[in-house]
Symmetry: C2
Subunit: 287 residues, 2 copies
Protein backbone atom coordinates (compact mmCIF):
# COMPACT_ATOMS: atom_id res chain seq x y z
CA UNK A 1 0.00 0.00 0.00
CA UNK A 2 1.44 3.35 -1.06
CA UNK A 3 0.12 6.68 0.16
CA UNK A 4 1.18 9.72 -1.84
CA UNK A 5 0.52 12.59 0.53
CA UNK A 6 0.62 16.31 -0.20
CA UNK A 7 1.98 18.34 2.71
CA UNK A 8 0.71 21.72 1.56
CA UNK A 9 2.68 24.93 1.46
CA UNK A 10 3.37 26.08 4.99
CA UNK A 11 4.58 24.11 7.96
CA UNK A 12 3.89 20.70 9.44
CA UNK A 13 0.34 21.71 10.38
CA UNK A 14 -0.62 22.14 6.74
CA UNK A 15 -1.02 18.42 6.24
CA UNK A 16 -4.68 17.36 6.19
CA UNK A 17 -6.20 15.21 8.90
CA UNK A 18 -6.56 12.45 6.30
CA UNK A 19 -2.91 12.81 5.36
CA UNK A 20 -1.79 12.79 8.95
CA UNK A 21 -3.78 9.63 9.65
CA UNK A 22 -2.24 7.95 6.61
CA UNK A 23 1.27 8.88 7.75
CA UNK A 24 0.55 7.62 11.26
CA UNK A 25 -0.53 4.27 9.83
CA UNK A 26 2.66 3.73 7.79
CA UNK A 27 5.79 1.85 8.75
CA UNK A 28 8.03 3.60 6.21
CA UNK A 29 8.00 7.28 5.29
CA UNK A 30 9.80 8.98 2.42
CA UNK A 31 9.93 12.72 1.82
CA UNK A 32 10.40 14.03 -1.69
CA UNK A 33 12.98 16.78 -1.45
CA UNK A 34 14.05 18.07 -4.80
CA UNK A 35 11.10 19.87 -6.40
CA UNK A 36 10.30 22.06 -3.42
CA UNK A 37 11.25 22.73 0.16
CA UNK A 38 9.39 22.55 3.39
CA UNK A 39 8.36 25.74 5.07
CA UNK A 40 10.48 26.15 8.14
CA UNK A 41 11.78 28.92 10.33
CA UNK A 42 13.62 31.35 8.11
CA UNK A 43 16.73 31.18 10.28
CA UNK A 44 17.17 27.69 8.89
CA UNK A 45 17.20 28.84 5.30
CA UNK A 46 18.76 32.27 5.09
CA UNK A 47 22.31 31.06 4.94
CA UNK A 48 23.73 29.88 1.67
CA UNK A 49 25.45 27.07 3.46
CA UNK A 50 22.35 25.69 5.16
CA UNK A 51 22.18 21.94 5.05
CA UNK A 52 18.87 21.27 3.33
CA UNK A 53 18.35 18.13 5.38
CA UNK A 54 18.44 19.89 8.74
CA UNK A 55 14.88 21.10 8.33
CA UNK A 56 13.52 17.57 8.37
CA UNK A 57 14.28 17.24 12.04
CA UNK A 58 11.14 19.20 12.79
CA UNK A 59 9.06 16.91 10.66
CA UNK A 60 10.41 13.84 12.35
CA UNK A 61 9.60 15.36 15.70
CA UNK A 62 6.10 16.13 14.51
CA UNK A 63 5.40 12.74 13.00
CA UNK A 64 7.33 10.81 15.62
CA UNK A 65 8.86 8.54 12.99
CA UNK A 66 12.00 8.34 10.96
CA UNK A 67 11.73 9.99 7.57
CA UNK A 68 13.94 9.05 4.65
CA UNK A 69 14.73 11.97 2.40
CA UNK A 70 14.08 10.87 -1.17
CA UNK A 71 16.29 12.88 -3.47
CA UNK A 72 16.14 13.03 -7.23
CA UNK A 73 18.47 10.05 -7.63
CA UNK A 74 16.28 7.82 -5.51
CA UNK A 75 13.02 8.82 -7.15
CA UNK A 76 14.22 8.82 -10.73
CA UNK A 77 16.23 5.62 -10.52
CA UNK A 78 13.21 3.38 -10.45
CA UNK A 79 11.90 4.05 -6.97
CA UNK A 80 12.83 0.53 -5.91
CA UNK A 81 13.48 1.64 -2.33
CA UNK A 82 9.91 2.90 -2.14
CA UNK A 83 8.05 0.30 -4.18
CA UNK A 84 9.60 -2.89 -2.81
CA UNK A 85 8.40 -2.35 0.77
CA UNK A 86 5.04 -1.01 -0.45
CA UNK A 87 4.22 -4.52 -1.67
CA UNK A 88 3.97 -5.73 1.92
CA UNK A 89 3.86 -2.68 4.18
CA UNK A 90 2.12 0.65 4.36
CA UNK A 91 4.50 3.21 2.87
CA UNK A 92 4.01 6.98 2.71
CA UNK A 93 5.63 9.19 0.09
CA UNK A 94 5.35 12.83 1.17
CA UNK A 95 5.40 15.70 -1.28
CA UNK A 96 5.50 19.41 -0.45
CA UNK A 97 2.42 21.07 -1.94
CA UNK A 98 0.15 18.72 -3.89
CA UNK A 99 1.45 15.34 -5.12
CA UNK A 100 0.81 16.29 -8.74
CA UNK A 101 1.51 19.99 -8.53
CA UNK A 102 4.42 21.64 -10.25
CA UNK A 103 6.24 18.41 -11.05
CA UNK A 104 4.72 15.07 -11.70
CA UNK A 105 4.90 12.08 -9.46
CA UNK A 106 2.63 10.22 -11.83
CA UNK A 107 5.57 8.05 -12.83
CA UNK A 108 5.79 6.64 -9.29
CA UNK A 109 2.04 6.19 -9.30
CA UNK A 110 2.05 4.28 -12.59
CA UNK A 111 4.96 2.05 -11.53
CA UNK A 112 3.15 1.17 -8.32
CA UNK A 113 -0.05 0.34 -10.18
CA UNK A 114 1.90 -1.83 -12.64
CA UNK A 115 3.14 -3.90 -9.73
CA UNK A 116 -0.34 -4.28 -8.33
CA UNK A 117 0.31 -1.99 -5.38
CA UNK A 118 -2.73 -0.14 -4.11
CA UNK A 119 -2.18 3.63 -4.15
CA UNK A 120 -4.01 6.34 -2.26
CA UNK A 121 -3.47 10.02 -2.98
CA UNK A 122 -4.06 12.76 -0.43
CA UNK A 123 -4.31 16.15 -2.09
CA UNK A 124 -3.31 19.50 -0.68
CA UNK A 125 -2.71 23.11 -1.67
CA UNK A 126 0.15 23.86 -4.06
CA UNK A 127 1.58 26.98 -5.58
CA UNK A 128 -0.58 26.27 -8.66
CA UNK A 129 -3.82 27.06 -6.86
CA UNK A 130 -2.65 29.07 -3.84
CA UNK A 131 -1.55 31.93 -6.10
CA UNK A 132 -5.25 32.82 -6.20
CA UNK A 133 -4.32 34.51 -2.91
CA UNK A 134 -3.03 37.54 -4.81
CA UNK A 135 -6.50 38.17 -6.22
CA UNK A 136 -5.90 37.18 -9.82
CA UNK A 137 -8.45 34.63 -11.01
CA UNK A 138 -7.02 31.16 -11.57
CA UNK A 139 -9.08 30.66 -14.71
CA UNK A 140 -7.46 33.69 -16.30
CA UNK A 141 -3.99 32.17 -16.14
CA UNK A 142 -2.29 30.80 -19.22
CA UNK A 143 0.35 28.09 -18.86
CA UNK A 144 2.99 28.66 -16.19
CA UNK A 145 6.64 29.10 -17.13
CA UNK A 146 9.85 28.06 -15.40
CA UNK A 147 12.64 30.57 -14.90
CA UNK A 148 15.98 28.81 -14.34
CA UNK A 149 19.19 30.33 -13.04
CA UNK A 150 21.20 31.78 -15.92
CA UNK A 151 24.73 30.41 -16.05
CA UNK A 152 27.67 31.80 -18.01
CA UNK A 153 26.98 29.75 -21.10
CA UNK A 154 23.41 28.71 -20.53
CA UNK A 155 20.75 31.40 -20.62
CA UNK A 156 17.59 29.67 -21.88
CA UNK A 157 14.85 32.15 -22.77
CA UNK A 158 12.00 30.04 -24.12
CA UNK A 159 9.83 31.51 -21.34
CA UNK A 160 9.85 34.76 -23.30
CA UNK A 161 7.72 33.32 -26.10
CA UNK A 162 5.34 31.74 -23.62
CA UNK A 163 4.87 35.00 -21.72
CA UNK A 164 4.35 36.76 -25.06
CA UNK A 165 1.64 34.27 -26.03
CA UNK A 166 -0.14 34.60 -22.69
CA UNK A 167 0.04 38.40 -22.89
CA UNK A 168 -1.34 38.38 -26.42
CA UNK A 169 -4.26 36.30 -25.17
CA UNK A 170 -4.83 38.55 -22.15
CA UNK A 171 -3.79 35.78 -19.77
CA UNK A 172 -1.77 35.95 -16.56
CA UNK A 173 1.57 34.15 -16.35
CA UNK A 174 2.87 32.44 -13.23
CA UNK A 175 6.66 32.19 -13.22
CA UNK A 176 7.95 29.24 -11.19
CA UNK A 177 11.40 30.14 -9.92
CA UNK A 178 14.36 27.81 -9.98
CA UNK A 179 15.28 25.60 -7.03
CA UNK A 180 18.72 24.03 -7.02
CA UNK A 181 19.13 21.32 -4.43
CA UNK A 182 21.88 18.71 -4.33
CA UNK A 183 23.41 19.98 -7.56
CA UNK A 184 26.97 19.05 -8.44
CA UNK A 185 29.09 21.68 -10.20
CA UNK A 186 30.46 20.83 -13.63
CA UNK A 187 33.99 21.28 -12.31
CA UNK A 188 33.45 18.80 -9.50
CA UNK A 189 31.62 16.38 -11.77
CA UNK A 190 34.57 16.35 -14.18
CA UNK A 191 36.84 15.55 -11.27
CA UNK A 192 34.48 12.74 -10.30
CA UNK A 193 33.65 14.45 -7.02
CA UNK A 194 30.00 14.20 -6.00
CA UNK A 195 30.13 17.27 -3.81
CA UNK A 196 26.77 18.99 -3.53
CA UNK A 197 26.60 22.74 -3.96
CA UNK A 198 24.76 24.83 -1.38
CA UNK A 199 21.03 24.93 -2.20
CA UNK A 200 19.91 27.95 -4.22
CA UNK A 201 16.47 29.43 -4.56
CA UNK A 202 15.74 32.12 -7.11
CA UNK A 203 14.51 35.42 -5.70
CA UNK A 204 11.91 37.68 -7.29
CA UNK A 205 14.70 40.23 -7.85
CA UNK A 206 16.90 37.78 -9.71
CA UNK A 207 13.91 36.68 -11.78
CA UNK A 208 13.16 40.26 -12.83
CA UNK A 209 16.83 40.85 -13.72
CA UNK A 210 16.82 37.80 -15.96
CA UNK A 211 13.49 38.73 -17.54
CA UNK A 212 14.70 42.25 -18.33
CA UNK A 213 17.96 40.91 -19.74
CA UNK A 214 16.00 38.78 -22.18
CA UNK A 215 13.69 41.66 -23.15
CA UNK A 216 16.81 43.75 -23.76
CA UNK A 217 18.11 41.05 -26.09
CA UNK A 218 14.88 40.14 -27.87
CA UNK A 219 13.37 43.64 -27.96
CA UNK A 220 9.84 42.49 -28.83
CA UNK A 221 8.26 44.65 -26.14
CA UNK A 222 6.61 41.79 -24.26
CA UNK A 223 7.29 43.52 -20.94
CA UNK A 224 9.63 46.13 -19.49
CA UNK A 225 10.58 48.25 -16.49
CA UNK A 226 7.03 49.65 -16.23
CA UNK A 227 5.12 46.38 -16.60
CA UNK A 228 2.83 45.62 -13.63
CA UNK A 229 3.79 42.46 -11.82
CA UNK A 230 3.36 40.68 -8.51
CA UNK A 231 6.02 39.11 -6.33
CA UNK A 232 5.07 36.44 -3.80
CA UNK A 233 7.26 34.96 -1.08
CA UNK A 234 6.56 32.06 1.27
CA UNK A 235 2.97 31.73 0.11
CA UNK A 236 0.87 29.96 2.72
CA UNK A 237 3.36 30.68 5.51
CA UNK A 238 2.62 32.99 8.39
CA UNK A 239 5.19 35.52 7.17
CA UNK A 240 4.19 35.40 3.52
CA UNK A 241 4.73 38.55 1.49
CA UNK A 242 2.80 39.68 -1.57
CA UNK A 243 3.80 42.93 -3.25
CA UNK A 244 2.55 44.36 -6.54
CA UNK A 245 4.15 47.11 -8.57
CA UNK A 246 6.13 47.69 -11.71
CA UNK A 247 9.11 45.51 -12.52
CA UNK A 248 11.52 48.28 -11.66
CA UNK A 249 9.74 48.91 -8.34
CA UNK A 250 9.85 45.24 -7.36
CA UNK A 251 13.47 44.95 -8.41
CA UNK A 252 14.40 46.61 -5.13
CA UNK A 253 11.87 45.04 -2.77
CA UNK A 254 13.38 42.63 -0.25
CA UNK A 255 11.12 39.58 -0.31
CA UNK A 256 13.15 37.70 2.28
CA UNK A 257 13.69 33.97 2.50
CA UNK A 258 12.49 31.39 -0.09
CA UNK A 259 10.37 30.27 -1.81
CA UNK A 260 9.51 33.08 -4.18
CA UNK A 261 7.12 33.20 -7.11
CA UNK A 262 6.39 35.85 -9.69
CA UNK A 263 3.35 36.79 -11.75
CA UNK A 264 2.96 38.92 -14.85
CA UNK A 265 -0.75 39.76 -15.08
CA UNK A 266 -2.54 39.85 -18.41
CA UNK A 267 -5.78 41.82 -18.67
CA UNK A 268 -7.14 42.51 -15.20
CA UNK A 269 -10.84 42.71 -14.38
CA UNK A 270 -11.99 45.23 -11.81
CA UNK A 271 -11.76 43.00 -8.74
CA UNK A 272 -8.35 41.85 -9.91
CA UNK A 273 -7.31 45.49 -10.22
CA UNK A 274 -8.63 46.19 -6.72
CA UNK A 275 -6.48 43.38 -5.40
CA UNK A 276 -3.46 44.56 -7.34
CA UNK A 277 -3.88 48.01 -5.76
CA UNK A 278 -4.41 46.48 -2.34
CA UNK A 279 -1.07 44.72 -2.42
CA UNK A 280 0.60 47.81 -3.79
CA UNK A 281 -0.72 50.16 -1.13
CA UNK A 282 -0.04 47.81 1.73
CA UNK A 283 3.57 47.17 0.95
CA UNK A 284 4.61 47.00 4.57
CA UNK A 285 1.84 44.70 5.75
CA UNK A 286 1.11 43.00 2.52
CA UNK A 287 0.00 39.56 3.61
Amino acid sequence: MLFIVGLGLGDEKDVTIKGREAIDSCSKIFLEAYTSILGVGKERLVSDTTDITSEFIIKEAFYGKEIVVADRELVESGCEAILAPAKEERVAFLVVGDPFGATTHMDLYLRAKERGIEVQVVHNASIMNAIGRCGLQLYNFGPAVSIVFFEDNWRPDSFYDKIALNKKNGQHTLCLLDIKVKEVSLANMMKGKMIYEAPRFMSVNRCIEQLLEVEEKRKEGVYGQDTPCIGLARLGHEDQKIVSGTMSELLNVDFGTPLHSFIIPGEMHFIEKDCFDHFRENKQTSS
Copy 2:
Protein backbone atom coordinates in the same frame (compact mmCIF):
# COMPACT_ATOMS: atom_id res chain seq x y z
CA MET B 1 -10.36 38.10 13.41
CA LEU B 2 -11.54 36.30 10.26
CA PHE B 3 -10.23 32.91 9.18
CA ILE B 4 -10.93 31.95 5.57
CA VAL B 5 -10.42 28.21 5.59
CA GLY B 6 -10.29 25.85 2.60
CA LEU B 7 -11.87 22.47 3.33
CA GLY B 8 -10.35 20.58 0.42
CA LEU B 9 -12.17 18.30 -1.95
CA GLY B 10 -13.18 15.18 -0.13
CA ASP B 11 -14.83 14.80 3.24
CA GLU B 12 -14.46 16.41 6.66
CA LYS B 13 -10.99 14.89 7.11
CA ASP B 14 -9.59 16.87 4.21
CA VAL B 15 -9.30 20.00 6.29
CA THR B 16 -5.71 20.69 7.35
CA ILE B 17 -4.59 20.50 10.96
CA LYS B 18 -4.05 24.27 10.82
CA GLY B 19 -7.57 24.74 9.46
CA ARG B 20 -9.08 22.48 12.06
CA GLU B 21 -7.33 24.35 14.86
CA ALA B 22 -8.56 27.67 13.47
CA ILE B 23 -12.13 26.37 13.35
CA ASP B 24 -11.88 25.04 16.89
CA SER B 25 -10.78 28.45 18.10
CA CYS B 26 -13.74 30.31 16.55
CA SER B 27 -17.01 31.26 18.13
CA LYS B 28 -18.89 31.68 14.82
CA ILE B 29 -18.60 29.46 11.75
CA PHE B 30 -20.00 30.11 8.28
CA LEU B 31 -19.90 27.66 5.39
CA GLU B 32 -19.92 28.98 1.84
CA ALA B 33 -22.37 26.82 -0.05
CA TYR B 34 -23.02 28.03 -3.54
CA THR B 35 -19.84 27.60 -5.56
CA SER B 36 -19.27 23.96 -4.64
CA ILE B 37 -20.60 21.16 -2.50
CA LEU B 38 -19.12 19.16 0.26
CA GLY B 39 -18.15 15.59 -0.39
CA VAL B 40 -20.60 13.39 1.41
CA GLY B 41 -21.98 9.90 1.12
CA LYS B 42 -23.42 9.54 -2.34
CA GLU B 43 -26.76 8.38 -0.96
CA ARG B 44 -27.25 11.94 0.19
CA LEU B 45 -26.80 13.41 -3.26
CA VAL B 46 -28.20 11.00 -5.82
CA SER B 47 -31.75 12.21 -5.56
CA ASP B 48 -32.81 15.32 -7.42
CA THR B 49 -34.86 16.33 -4.45
CA THR B 50 -32.05 16.17 -1.91
CA ASP B 51 -32.01 19.08 0.43
CA ILE B 52 -28.57 20.59 -0.03
CA THR B 53 -28.45 21.62 3.60
CA SER B 54 -28.85 18.12 4.99
CA GLU B 55 -25.23 17.31 4.31
CA PHE B 56 -23.99 19.89 6.74
CA ILE B 57 -25.19 17.80 9.65
CA ILE B 58 -22.07 15.68 9.28
CA LYS B 59 -19.87 18.70 9.42
CA GLU B 60 -21.53 20.00 12.52
CA ALA B 61 -21.05 16.63 14.16
CA PHE B 62 -17.38 16.69 13.16
CA TYR B 63 -16.67 20.21 14.28
CA GLY B 64 -18.94 20.06 17.30
CA LYS B 65 -20.27 23.55 16.62
CA GLU B 66 -23.18 25.14 14.87
CA ILE B 67 -22.45 26.07 11.29
CA VAL B 68 -24.35 28.79 9.45
CA VAL B 69 -24.76 28.06 5.77
CA ALA B 70 -23.76 31.18 3.87
CA ASP B 71 -25.61 31.24 0.58
CA ARG B 72 -25.03 33.57 -2.33
CA GLU B 73 -27.41 36.19 -0.96
CA LEU B 74 -25.59 36.42 2.33
CA VAL B 75 -22.12 36.57 0.82
CA GLU B 76 -22.90 38.95 -2.02
CA SER B 77 -25.07 41.33 -0.01
CA GLY B 78 -22.18 42.86 1.86
CA CYS B 79 -21.23 40.03 4.19
CA GLU B 80 -22.43 42.08 7.16
CA ALA B 81 -23.42 38.92 9.06
CA ILE B 82 -19.84 37.69 8.80
CA LEU B 83 -17.88 40.92 9.13
CA ALA B 84 -19.72 42.51 12.06
CA PRO B 85 -18.91 39.73 14.55
CA ALA B 86 -15.37 39.39 13.13
CA LYS B 87 -14.55 42.82 14.58
CA GLU B 88 -14.79 41.40 18.10
CA GLU B 89 -14.80 37.60 17.85
CA ARG B 90 -12.94 34.87 16.02
CA VAL B 91 -15.02 33.99 12.97
CA ALA B 92 -14.37 31.20 10.45
CA PHE B 93 -15.58 31.28 6.85
CA LEU B 94 -15.28 27.80 5.37
CA VAL B 95 -14.94 27.21 1.64
CA VAL B 96 -14.96 23.85 -0.13
CA GLY B 97 -11.67 23.43 -1.99
CA ASP B 98 -9.29 26.38 -1.68
CA PRO B 99 -10.59 29.80 -0.57
CA PHE B 100 -9.50 31.41 -3.84
CA GLY B 101 -10.07 28.48 -6.15
CA ALA B 102 -12.71 28.48 -8.85
CA THR B 103 -14.56 31.52 -7.55
CA THR B 104 -13.11 34.41 -5.71
CA HIS B 105 -13.67 35.25 -2.13
CA MET B 106 -11.23 38.09 -2.43
CA ASP B 107 -14.13 40.51 -2.12
CA LEU B 108 -14.81 39.31 1.43
CA TYR B 109 -11.09 39.50 2.14
CA LEU B 110 -10.81 43.08 0.89
CA ARG B 111 -13.91 44.21 2.81
CA ALA B 112 -12.52 42.71 6.00
CA LYS B 113 -9.15 44.43 5.51
CA GLU B 114 -10.90 47.75 4.82
CA ARG B 115 -12.55 47.49 8.23
CA GLY B 116 -9.26 46.74 9.91
CA ILE B 117 -10.15 43.11 10.60
CA GLU B 118 -7.20 40.75 10.71
CA VAL B 119 -7.59 37.94 8.18
CA GLN B 120 -5.87 34.58 8.05
CA VAL B 121 -6.18 32.27 5.07
CA VAL B 122 -5.77 28.50 5.27
CA HIS B 123 -5.17 26.99 1.85
CA ASN B 124 -6.20 23.56 0.64
CA ALA B 125 -6.53 21.48 -2.51
CA SER B 126 -9.05 22.58 -5.12
CA ILE B 127 -10.17 21.25 -8.46
CA MET B 128 -7.72 23.70 -10.09
CA ASN B 129 -4.67 21.79 -8.85
CA ALA B 130 -6.08 18.34 -8.02
CA ILE B 131 -6.80 17.69 -11.71
CA GLY B 132 -3.08 16.92 -11.93
CA ARG B 133 -4.31 13.54 -10.65
CA CYS B 134 -5.24 12.52 -14.20
CA GLY B 135 -1.62 12.80 -15.27
CA LEU B 136 -1.84 15.93 -17.40
CA GLN B 137 0.73 18.51 -16.35
CA LEU B 138 -0.77 21.58 -14.69
CA TYR B 139 1.62 23.92 -16.50
CA ASN B 140 0.31 22.71 -19.84
CA PHE B 141 -3.22 23.92 -19.14
CA GLY B 142 -4.61 27.02 -20.78
CA PRO B 143 -7.38 28.96 -19.04
CA ALA B 144 -10.29 26.90 -17.71
CA VAL B 145 -13.78 27.34 -19.14
CA SER B 146 -17.20 27.15 -17.52
CA ILE B 147 -19.95 25.05 -19.08
CA VAL B 148 -23.38 26.16 -17.91
CA PHE B 149 -26.67 24.29 -18.27
CA PHE B 150 -28.26 25.14 -21.60
CA GLU B 151 -31.79 26.43 -21.23
CA ASP B 152 -34.43 26.74 -23.97
CA ASN B 153 -33.46 30.28 -24.87
CA TRP B 154 -30.04 30.56 -23.36
CA ARG B 155 -27.28 28.46 -24.86
CA PRO B 156 -24.07 30.45 -24.31
CA ASP B 157 -21.15 29.02 -26.28
CA SER B 158 -18.27 31.37 -25.62
CA PHE B 159 -16.36 28.37 -24.22
CA TYR B 160 -16.01 27.17 -27.81
CA ASP B 161 -13.63 29.98 -28.75
CA LYS B 162 -11.64 29.49 -25.58
CA ILE B 163 -11.24 25.76 -26.19
CA ALA B 164 -10.26 26.55 -29.79
CA LEU B 165 -7.57 28.96 -28.60
CA ASN B 166 -6.17 26.47 -26.08
CA LYS B 167 -6.15 23.72 -28.72
CA LYS B 168 -4.40 25.97 -31.21
CA ASN B 169 -1.72 26.61 -28.58
CA GLY B 170 -1.41 22.92 -27.72
CA GLN B 171 -2.84 23.53 -24.24
CA HIS B 172 -5.20 21.40 -22.16
CA THR B 173 -8.62 22.77 -21.22
CA LEU B 174 -10.35 22.11 -17.92
CA CYS B 175 -14.13 22.46 -18.18
CA LEU B 176 -15.76 23.45 -14.89
CA LEU B 177 -19.29 22.09 -14.92
CA ASP B 178 -22.32 24.02 -13.78
CA ILE B 179 -23.68 23.83 -10.24
CA LYS B 180 -27.15 25.17 -9.61
CA VAL B 181 -27.96 25.61 -5.95
CA LYS B 182 -30.82 27.64 -4.52
CA GLU B 183 -31.91 28.83 -7.94
CA VAL B 184 -35.39 30.27 -8.42
CA SER B 185 -37.15 29.51 -11.70
CA LEU B 186 -38.13 32.43 -13.90
CA ALA B 187 -41.78 31.39 -13.62
CA ASN B 188 -41.67 31.45 -9.82
CA MET B 189 -39.67 34.64 -9.77
CA MET B 190 -42.32 36.38 -11.91
CA LYS B 191 -44.95 35.21 -9.45
CA GLY B 192 -42.81 36.63 -6.66
CA LYS B 193 -42.33 33.17 -5.18
CA MET B 194 -38.84 32.54 -3.81
CA ILE B 195 -39.13 28.77 -4.16
CA TYR B 196 -35.76 27.12 -4.65
CA GLU B 197 -35.38 24.53 -7.37
CA ALA B 198 -33.76 21.19 -6.55
CA PRO B 199 -29.96 21.49 -6.81
CA ARG B 200 -28.51 20.41 -10.16
CA PHE B 201 -24.96 19.37 -10.97
CA MET B 202 -23.83 18.95 -14.56
CA SER B 203 -22.65 15.46 -15.50
CA VAL B 204 -19.78 14.66 -17.87
CA ASN B 205 -22.37 13.21 -20.25
CA ARG B 206 -24.44 16.37 -20.31
CA CYS B 207 -21.28 18.42 -20.83
CA ILE B 208 -20.28 16.34 -23.86
CA GLU B 209 -23.80 16.62 -25.33
CA GLN B 210 -23.65 20.40 -25.06
CA LEU B 211 -20.13 20.57 -26.44
CA LEU B 212 -21.08 18.46 -29.46
CA GLU B 213 -24.22 20.53 -30.03
CA VAL B 214 -22.07 23.66 -30.27
CA GLU B 215 -19.55 21.99 -32.60
CA GLU B 216 -22.50 20.92 -34.76
CA LYS B 217 -23.62 24.55 -34.93
CA ARG B 218 -20.24 26.26 -35.29
CA LYS B 219 -18.60 23.59 -37.46
CA GLU B 220 -15.05 24.88 -36.96
CA GLY B 221 -13.71 21.43 -36.16
CA VAL B 222 -12.39 22.32 -32.71
CA TYR B 223 -13.38 18.87 -31.41
CA GLY B 224 -15.74 16.04 -32.27
CA GLN B 225 -16.95 12.51 -31.46
CA ASP B 226 -13.39 11.14 -31.78
CA THR B 227 -11.60 13.78 -29.73
CA PRO B 228 -9.70 12.35 -26.72
CA CYS B 229 -11.00 13.61 -23.43
CA ILE B 230 -11.03 12.80 -19.73
CA GLY B 231 -13.99 12.70 -17.39
CA LEU B 232 -13.46 13.05 -13.64
CA ALA B 233 -15.98 12.51 -10.90
CA ARG B 234 -15.69 13.16 -7.16
CA LEU B 235 -12.01 14.02 -7.42
CA GLY B 236 -10.31 13.58 -4.06
CA HIS B 237 -13.06 11.34 -2.70
CA GLU B 238 -12.57 7.67 -1.94
CA ASP B 239 -14.86 6.65 -4.79
CA GLN B 240 -13.46 9.07 -7.34
CA LYS B 241 -13.62 8.01 -10.97
CA ILE B 242 -11.32 9.05 -13.80
CA VAL B 243 -11.98 7.70 -17.28
CA SER B 244 -10.28 8.69 -20.53
CA GLY B 245 -11.52 7.97 -24.03
CA THR B 246 -13.11 9.67 -27.00
CA MET B 247 -16.06 11.98 -26.55
CA SER B 248 -18.44 9.39 -27.97
CA GLU B 249 -17.04 6.69 -25.67
CA LEU B 250 -17.41 8.86 -22.57
CA LEU B 251 -20.90 9.93 -23.59
CA ASN B 252 -22.14 6.58 -22.29
CA VAL B 253 -19.97 6.14 -19.21
CA ASP B 254 -21.84 6.41 -15.92
CA PHE B 255 -19.72 8.68 -13.74
CA GLY B 256 -22.13 8.50 -10.82
CA THR B 257 -22.84 11.23 -8.30
CA PRO B 258 -21.47 14.82 -8.42
CA LEU B 259 -19.20 16.70 -8.75
CA HIS B 260 -17.96 16.05 -12.26
CA SER B 261 -15.24 17.76 -14.28
CA PHE B 262 -14.10 17.38 -17.85
CA ILE B 263 -10.82 17.87 -19.67
CA ILE B 264 -9.96 18.24 -23.34
CA PRO B 265 -6.23 17.58 -23.64
CA GLY B 266 -4.07 19.59 -26.00
CA GLU B 267 -0.75 18.13 -27.10
CA MET B 268 0.23 15.29 -24.76
CA HIS B 269 3.82 14.46 -23.85
CA PHE B 270 4.77 10.83 -23.40
CA ILE B 271 4.10 10.55 -19.69
CA GLU B 272 0.81 12.32 -20.21
CA LYS B 273 -0.05 9.78 -22.92
CA ASP B 274 0.88 6.92 -20.58
CA CYS B 275 -1.51 8.31 -18.01
CA PHE B 276 -4.23 8.80 -20.59
CA ASP B 277 -3.86 5.14 -21.58
CA HIS B 278 -3.80 4.06 -17.95
CA PHE B 279 -7.17 5.59 -17.25
CA ARG B 280 -8.55 4.20 -20.48
CA GLU B 281 -7.44 0.62 -19.84
CA ASN B 282 -8.53 0.57 -16.25
CA LYS B 283 -12.04 1.75 -16.82
CA GLN B 284 -13.49 -0.41 -14.10
CA THR B 285 -10.95 0.49 -11.41
CA SER B 286 -9.97 3.83 -12.67
CA SER B 287 -9.05 5.68 -9.54
